[in-house]
Structure formats: C-alpha cells, structure tokens
Point group: C2
Chain length 474, copies 2
Amino acid sequence: MPVPAFPPLPPGFLDRLSSILGPRNLLTGGDATAPFLTDERRLFPGAAAAVACPGSTAEVSALVRACREAGVPIVPQGGNTGLVGGASAPAGSLLVNLRRMNRIRGVDPANATLTAEAGTVLATVQEAARDAGRLFPLSLASEGSAQIGGLLATNAGGINVLRHGNMRDLTLGIEAVMPDGRVLHGLGGLRKDNTGYDLRHLLIGSEGTLAILTAAVLRLSPLPRQRVTALVAVSGAAQALALLDLLRDRAGEALVAFEFMVQATVAMLVEAGHGFPVDPALPAFVLFDLTSADPEAPLAAQAEAILARAFDGGIVLDGTIGASEGQNRAMWDLRERLPEVQKHFGPSIKHDIAVAVSRIPDFLSRAGAACAAAMPGCRIVPFGHLGDGNLHYNLSPPDGMAPADFLARQGDINRIVHDIVHDLGGSISAEHGVGLMKRAELARYKDPVALDAMRAIKAALDPANLMNPGKLLP
Amino acid sequence: MPVPAFPPLPPGFLDRLSSILGPRNLLTGGDATAPFLTDERRLFPGAAAAVACPGSTAEVSALVRACREAGVPIVPQGGNTGLVGGASAPAGSLLVNLRRMNRIRGVDPANATLTAEAGTVLATVQEAARDAGRLFPLSLASEGSAQIGGLLATNAGGINVLRHGNMRDLTLGIEAVMPDGRVLHGLGGLRKDNTGYDLRHLLIGSEGTLAILTAAVLRLSPLPRQRVTALVAVSGAAQALALLDLLRDRAGEALVAFEFMVQATVAMLVEAGHGFPVDPALPAFVLFDLTSADPEAPLAAQAEAILARAFDGGIVLDGTIGASEGQNRAMWDLRERLPEVQKHFGPSIKHDIAVAVSRIPDFLSRAGAACAAAMPGCRIVPFGHLGDGNLHYNLSPPDGMAPADFLARQGDINRIVHDIVHDLGGSISAEHGVGLMKRAELARYKDPVALDAMRAIKAALDPANLMNPGKLLP
C-alpha cells in the first residue's frame, strides 16, 4: 500500500534532535531504523530517515517543538504491533518511538489505579497490578510487546471488553504533548471530573493524529480469585446469543468473556492437529469465562446450573467446563491460536467488524451467503468477541485457488462484507483502527457529518498537520 | 449572578420558528415561559423571549438552521434540574426545551441497550429497562424530572457510579444536531467502534456548547435480584477507605455504592428528628450496597463475613445490615434527605469536589482545618460518593451568624476549599458541571493547555458561537 512521502528533513534538524535526546537516542541508518519501519503485517513499510527515542515528557515536548519549527511531520509509535499501518513513518517524517518511557510512575491501591508511561509494555502493567493485588484487565494476543501509548492511540480491545470495557474505559486520565509542544496534564486519577470537554476520550483512539500520549492513569479491578472456563457447542449464532442472555441474566457481573467460533473455524484447528474437547462436527461454539473476587463464591456450581438450564432449553448441545486452571488455559489457547492456524490454509482476507450484538446472526447469514456466492468454496472462518458484537470475519481460499488469485479478490470481498456491516449500522473497524489501511473505506462508510467534525477538530488542534499526517482521516 | 444578554430577536424570526414547530410548540409571554426561565437554585434567572419545544430531530435541525441564519444563540434545556445555570437562557437567546422528544425508540434486550430521545425522563428509562428485565443503573435525586439530554450534557453521576460509571460510561452512542443543523448519526448500538475521534464522548459533558443531543443508545445491566444494604460506623475517612478496600477485594463486582457521612452530617439528621440506626455519636459513617443478579448468591453471608472481619480488624466500630428491602430503603432515604435537611440549618456553602480516592482523608483534614480557621464554629457537613473520590463538601453557618453574613463569605470559602482540591490534583466540579456558576473558577484552576484545546474545538465546531454561548468556557 503506498505511503505518502514528505519533503526531506531540513539541514541541521537531526543535529538539533541529537542535542535534545543525546546521540544514542536518535537512530539513523538502515540497520538501526529497520525494525521500526517494518510493520506487523509487512504491508506498510516506512522510510523515515531517523527514529527518535525520547526518555521523558520534557524531551517529547522539546522534540515536538523542534519538529514544529522545522515543519517535520511526526509519527508516534508504541510496540509496533498495529495491524493497519498507523505507525508507519513515510520518508520525510520523524518516527518517535516511546519505548524508553517505560516507567510505572506509581500504583495507588486505595484509588485502584496505576500510572504508567506510554512505552510500558502491557504485560508489565498486568504484572505490576497483580503484584499490588489488583487486575489490569486488558488482555490481547500482543500483550507481550504492545505498549500503553499504542493501546491508547488505537483504543485497544481484546477478550475482556465484555466485562471491563476497552482501553478508553480503563483509562482515568492521560498526559500528552500537544502539537504546539505544550504538555496536557491529566494524571489526577479522578473518577469524576465535569470541568469541560473530555480531552482524554478525544485523544484516546485518535491514532497519534492529535497529540503524543506520554502517560496514563489506568483503572485496576479486584483480582479474581476464581475462574470458570467453559467451551460449549450451540446450533448457531442465535443460540449463542440465547446463552449470552442467560449468562448475563444469572451470572451478571461474573461474566467476563464470551467468544464465538463456527464449525469451519474449529475444523481448521482440528486439521492442524489440535485436539478439541467438544464434538467439532457441531455447528458453532462458545468459549466463556466467569470470574469472582470472592474465593468462596459457588462459581462452578453456578456455571453448571446455568449450562444445565441451557441444555434443557435446547440452547446448548454439548460442552465442557475446565476442571483445572490448566484445562482453562488449554481452551483459551485454542482460541488464541486461531489467527496463526489460519495461516496454514493460505492467505487470509480479514475483517474486524462490529454490529449490535442482536444483529450478529443476521450479519453472519447475509455475509455468509454473499461471500459464498462471490467465491464458491471459500472457507469462511469467523471468530471473536460475540459478547461485544465484534467478529473477526476471515476468509481462506477455496481448495486449489492460487494465493495471488485469492488476494486479488480482497477488494471485492471487503466491499461485500463492509456493505452488509454498514447496512446493519455497524463498524468496519471494531478494534484495530483505521491507520493507512482503512482510510478509503472510512471515506465511503463514515457519517459525513462525523468526518467533517473530525477534520475540523484536527485542523483546530494541529493546524500545521504535523501529527501523523495521512493517517486515519480520509 | 449576571447572565449576559444578546441582541433582540430579529423581526420575523418567531414566525419562522412557529411555522417549523407549529404555534402550540413555541411558547412566548411571561406565564408560558416562566417555568423554563427559573432554575432549580433560583440563582440564574433566564430572560429569553421564547421557548421552542421541537417534537423530532428534523424539527431540531430546522430550528438550528433558522437560528444560524438569524444569528440567534440557542440554549438547550432538559428537565431544568441543573445546579450551575447551564440551561439559563439570556435575553436575545432562544431556549430549546426537548421535553416533547420523550419517546423510547426501542429496547434491544439481546444487545442490552435502550434507545431514548433526549427529553425522556430518567425514571421513565429506568422503568422501561425494568420492564425488559434489565437495569438502567444511573440513579440520582432528580431522577423523576431530569431528562436524558441534560444528563448527557452534564455527564451526570449519582450513587451507582462506583460500579456502573457515570452517564458517559452508560452511553453507547448518540444522535445530535450539530451547529450547522446537520444530524450526527450514532445510534448503531455498537460496543466497539474504532473509526476515528470519539465524538460521543466529546459531546457528552459539553453542556450544550457544541450540539443539541437528540437521542442516545443507553447500556443496560443485568437486573439485580438481591441487594444487601449496610450502614456502619468508622473512626474516620482513612478507616472508610480500608473498608472500601476490603469490600472491593472480597466482594469485587458486587459492590455498587459506597457513601460517606461524618458525625456532623448525621447530627443534622438527628436534630431534624430522624432516627439513625447506628450510634450517631461515632465519628463517621459508610452506607454501602452489594447487589447480585444471581438470586441464590450468598450475598448477605458474604456481607456479614466481610463486616465481621472489618470489625475484628478495628476498621468498623458498629453497624447494621438491612433485614428487608424496606430497611434498605429507609437507610438510603436518610442519605437522600441530607441536602433537604441541611436547609433547616440556614443557607449552605456547597462544593462538589473530587480527588483521587486515596487523597480523601488528606483533603478532609486540610479543608476541615482551613474552614474552621476561616469561620470558627461553622458546621462542616461533607457527604457523598467516597468510592468515587467525590464529596459534596458543604458548610452551614455557625450558631447565631446572620444568613447574609454567612453567604458573604462564600467566595472566600470556595477559594480555600478549591485551592486545596487543586493542590491535590482534584476537580472543582465532579458531577454538576460548570455552567455559569463555575466559569470563573475554571479559568483559575483548569489546565491552560486543556482550556486552549477546548476553545479551539469550540471555535472549530461552532464558529458563530451560537450553541449555549457564555456557558462552560471561561
């Protein structure tokens, strides 16, 4: 995908940066910069001449001022695990990688918060919370390398959104460097603050186009002392929703995650040699977690009673409850392997869609019929966060189709799927963001009133258009 | 407090409005407009010549276009229960009251959402949710008259924020009429949507200065089937926080509300003739709720075990658990009577502050000492949402002080309290908003970088400055 280029860096600019950061923290030359210019999917190669690694908010501020004076575009980058090219740095831009800002500034157990710098890796935050007897509930595949700044910039989701919300819901406040280099201070750790526009929520999810996020106050939850994981078979998405309803109604606040897979998805696991603890020939499957902070809550008995009821009501066809934390983890491991296992079956055409939870069955039947008609024999392998109305709606090629022929159809298939999503009032990017990949799609599907408001805000806060230009906004 | 005036309405303007709305829905003349021009506290009298009552989003849109063409400022209004003058309509402005837009557009149990128009009264939404076997958890004193639009515009809080969040956390999407009259559509009911800046969160809490909210998709929770209410005595705020910690740790997701009062607050209840079920001579009190969706969860036993532990640990001095829903309600009734009871003791000087929960004890001791020094003998009667770090820090006059003398000190006392809040990184408006009342305070305390960003956004989205001008932004 083409990444736009900007004019070359002005003379003396790198010397100025070097004096701000120290020469060790300004990377130049192909070997040093290459890891930062290659994205997770290898779709959006960067070409920036330099990577700046500031070590403090003051350094970020000085660096932004220098870029502003020199007219150099800035591309902020976290763990570089994004999937849509949001952190790809074109020629003529400066890539600002936050990894040196990786301190946990403090844990406040009584406030149930943790303050972390933007470059802190998610797993490090999870661990620090656990050490303080608390849970930081955001959990996703890249948690070993994704950083807080990137997770904020893309409002990351993952498997526990159903109960705990996504990154914005888990953030009480932010610190950020604005496009003019001034620092926005918002780390008071407040749960309530009605003193004007919520700039925190405006910057979260703005993909680096409005500011560089430098730190955040994150909300911690009680540490669960029990978990019940169940994998059950259902006859389809409508029955999965009936189970979701039953679980919400009876287990309420204990329901943390509710994932969905169909037979074709599980068939890939089985063909790839993985064992599956429920009859894989059944039509669809749900994996869910109940947790409780109370070590004595009768959680397993509750899960069994709910499932018995669901079985009697014809909602659930078969199922198993993990008898140990090891079994629980093994079931989640199957779920987490799906993206990797799909690679054994050739290239993928992927979608990251959301609709109202109640519309998922309609979406699946319409999209399934349309994709099968457009590409007979393709493997449609949706999976994902049904409890949030969010599915990774992925396709693999029909037997015998050449990878290039399959990928040549990506645009058509995207159009078919996204048109249906749009018709159902849904989102074409539920959790991955827009970046470079979905800018053109955004122009097509996003409410034009919203787009105009976004453009007006961008122009107001970043009049020189130096913050991650060319991303997100079509 | 002075409310600025604008130029008189241009000739023919009211006729145009009348043709949009129908003459019955355009109120003019003192008798018809008076109820809309008198605010809850009778501090911010309005003087608008007309009150427009649109019945649909299309009418709001037409009305905004008419105002824009005529250059007439618009003041949106909901249930007119606000405390800071945010809905006061000066001379020369048009008051737009949304009460006719009071339809519940739909309930989607599978998506756990309800779509309501801006003029729907909160109690009506609560009832519709209950009828669908769900809970809409926002709860506050004015719920019988406060409307969804106003609750959104001020990001209302209340007693259940600890578990369920405030209004913005309970809102999945909004519909709004922008300052140019176009309609922003956002009622897809999505739990995940990462396609650009979060305009929902920008408009929520913007107090009518950026758009007129016309409808919202609200998030419903499982209906609680059990509630345990406890009123306990503690030796101070630090011990109350230790109890909060224990409850969060053991009861986790079951803890819904956690309210705090001190001896002086309870003394007013007793002096006013109310019974109090715990020794009122003890230093401080906590009222909390545990709830569960599971009718069989051993919630009462859990509460007893936690309180026994807290008693053994010296955290709790005395206490009672409601033996029936009637007793539970009676305890909450005492809490809810506090604002009214305080009126028996003369005028009040009020504050609506938030700090990090962990800083509440420090705030209370510093503010208590400073207020006592500034006004010896004054009654300091804080109460409120300790679990959110939010207290209504109220003062009543010393015995024998004339009301006027007391109120003449309001500015000094505000300064003392707000300076301490600011020093602790807190907020001078936790849940009531800014409106007219706290604009000057905002200029003093708000991060200037945030203020500049707010002003830039306001100018970008409402360049003619017609949406509730003179409110919120200093």
